[in-house]
């Protein structure tokens, strides 16, 4: 055993000191993040039904609906209901009739579609009113690219690391035992031996 009594007691004291420090720091951080709400039911309890904000634009001249019903539904899948349910507008309004926010947002979408607006224009209009968080996925611009690229970047970095490690570990010059000239066995026996060595069994 390598740990002395003194080290043990020091570690114990250090551990408790870290615990206290981290609890204090963690508490402060969580407060800063607004995590102190005692109970905030969102699953089926009270939600924020006042979160609706009207999104309306004047119809385009000679406006005709630019989207089919299916395209409109797809569009509503890209907008988040603001009641706090975390679902998209289409799913929320066709699942939970007690929510008043998603039907209102749906009506706004209908109005904009009837006004001749394209999907991207409608998304932009919602973004302007509610902010970026109304979109179910981050817009591909600016810092958000970090969000999209980071997983693949990390994977590429990991792959490069693995490749480097494999290059360092791999020894292609190591000769297979099967190639040794002084083994007293027939090629068939060697093949079976090789098979057995490589097999998982």
């Amino acid at each position: 055993m390598t740990t002395t009594r003194r080290e043990f007691l020091l570690s114990l004291g250090g551990g408790f000191a870290t615990l206290v420090a981290t609890l204090v720091a963690g508490g402060a951080a969580a407060r800063a993040l607004g995590a102190q709400e005692e109970t905030r039911n969102t699953m089926s309890g009270p939600m924020n039904q006042t979160a609706y904000l009207p999104v309306r634009l004047a119809p385009k001249p000679n406006a005709k609906p630019a989207l089919t019903e299916r395209q409109r539904n797809d569009l509503e899948h890209q907008l988040q209901c603001q009641c706090g349910c975390t679902l998209d507008v289409f799913t929320c309004r066709t699942t939970d009739f007690s929510c008043s926010v998603s039907p209102a947002m749906h009506m706004d979408v209908m109005g904009l579609v009837a006004g001749g607006y394209e999907a991207q224009e409608i998304l932009a209009a919602f973004r302007k009113v509610y902010g970026e968080h109304v979109l179910m996925t981050p817009v591909r611009e600016g810092f958000n690219w970090v969000g999209y690229f980071a997983p693949f970047g990390a994977l590429a970095a990991g792959a490069a690391l693995v490749y480097a490690l494999l290059r360092r570990w791999t020894h292609p010059e190591v000769a297979s035992p099967i190639a040794l000239p002084n083994v007293n066995a027939t090629p068939d026996e060697l093949a079976r031996l090789d098979d057995a060595m490589r097999s998982d069994q």
């Binding site: 969580a30 981050p138 494999l166």
Partner: protein
Amino acid sequence: MILVGELSLWVALLMAVWTATVSFAGGTLRRSELVASGERGTYATFAMIVLASIGLWTALFTHDYSLKFVASFTSTNLPKVYLFTAFWAGQAGSLLFWAMILATYSAIAVFANRNRNRDLMPYVTGTLALILIFFLATLCLGANPYERLDWLPPDGRGMNPQLQNPGMAIHPPNLYLGYVATALPFAFAIGALITRRLDAEWLVAVRRWALLSWFFNTTGIILGMWWAYVELGWGGYWAWDPVENASLLPWLTTTAFLHSVMVQEKRGMLRKWNVVLVMCSFLLAILGTFITRSGVISSVHSFAQSPVGNWFAGFLAIAIIASVYLVATRLKDLKAKAELESMVSREAAFLYNNLVLVGIAFSVLWGTLFPIISEAVRGTKITVGPPFFNSVNIPLGLLLLFLTGVGPLIAWRRASTANLKRQFTTPVVVGIVTCGLLLAAGMRSFYAVVAYTLAGFVAGTICQEFYKGVMARRSMYDESAPAAFVRLVARNRRRYGGYIVHAGVVIIFAAFGGLAFKSENDLTMNAGDTRTLTDAWGHKWSFTSDGVSRYDVLNRQVTAVTLETRRDGKPVGLITSEKRQYFSGTDPETRVATFEPSTEVGIMGSFRQDVYVTLAGVTGLDTSEIRITFNPLVRWVWIGGICMAIGGLIVMWPQPEKRRRQSGYVTQLRPDTALAAENA
């Protein structure tokens, strides 16, 4: 009994403090009587927590509304089965449940290792006790299930209707069993690092617990998917919700570990990596709990938020610091005992598989935390929803599926060209034929075609392995095919159980491919109205509304709509979807509505697809707002899950050491001798 339970909680905390102190002291000072005292302390802590749990169940069943927990999550008219499950319906109870599972696991680990791993056990016991101290302190000081109200309410608030589902009786316990089991490998890793006994011995104990964790996490996740599908009514089973993601993270790292541990057992490699994976699994389980409890990320599951998130943040920070310190100071002891001979070998394939699994874990964690990161960097709130996760994880998932087929077929150490040809010809042909057939049939969805092609390839590898094994046994022992199959699996449970798990993965991926053909239809129907829709298979479905009916059942008022359903003109049955309004109290005059109305979907399932009907609501007397979703291949998700669970059970099933040695995994587990011989 309730008072006994309350007191037991405090006694359990004291016992855990005693256990941790004397265990670490006993291990450090090499005092066997202290170590023994620590082990007895583990049993005593377990007994106290069981008493505390019995006390809470007693309070729930006797409707003791003086307890805030009982009043918050139950009501007099709640069915008895849900009085039982109310234990984990709220914050405090679920933490006590967690502590009870951990105490049970700890007692089992101490008992099972009473004659083994004696150098490690003081630190294992001590680490587990430290984790228990955290949970018990959180319970006693932060979220006490025995907290009393200042007044006695006549009835409780009742249980969230969405938790009143049989799935909720088994899904959370399964997830907790899986989550908590990550603590055992973590504790063994801490013990092995402290004592620097990082030979293969500790892996044996760790692997079993990791398998147990993997098994329960798998079943827990699948049951959660099933519950979300049948209960929440939004038409899917996975929404990339932060809490769903939190359950996936330790599963991914545990899965990676279960593959890489084979490389360490066989070849003495990836020793650092395995320790890191074990620790990450536990830390991610704690992180997941922090996400669930703290409320820093909004989630559909955030029914149990409270300031205990701070406690978890603190504990997580300490655990990370301790883990990093121990690994950093033991790097020399974790040096690999063999080197890779080829990039085309099974150990290399497992390394690639680990890379992808950890890559997926990172992308899921990144997507979950990115809203916080974005807000911190830009000051702008964003939403990271399913489209983001799908765009990132579908390619990675397909890569993983490909490696699922490649890994088991490549030889250890070095694969020759002949070996590759022999092993891969048939599966590749199966994959290509599958792809050709799908393209010829008109399938044009890129990801679906790739998924089914890879599924065909991996299915080919699995079938080939079983075929070869069965044929070998038949020729050697003259057995019938079924007998050869059963004995093949029984003789090498780890290998063939693993293949069954892989088969489950293939089935699930194939089912996921069906999502490309999902269609949703939003309808408004009066009584007698008929609507006709076409599914992805080209069948014409007609739905005729029988109108809206309203009636009372148990503790709820039900509003239901029934659709007479025909496929291609032939009647196939009725589909009923409900809205339920739950009440507290049984008297119709005085009862009070609790919670918002919940949805009960109507599902007409088959192996091809589910016809999924959701009653969104009713306007007027007889007009129903309905969503009808055609969900192809959903049933195969559950079948794949069952397959994975069966495979997991087969792998976990104890096997005599002699047989394990024959299968190649035990020979190198004798402390260092075999590896030393091999290296020499």
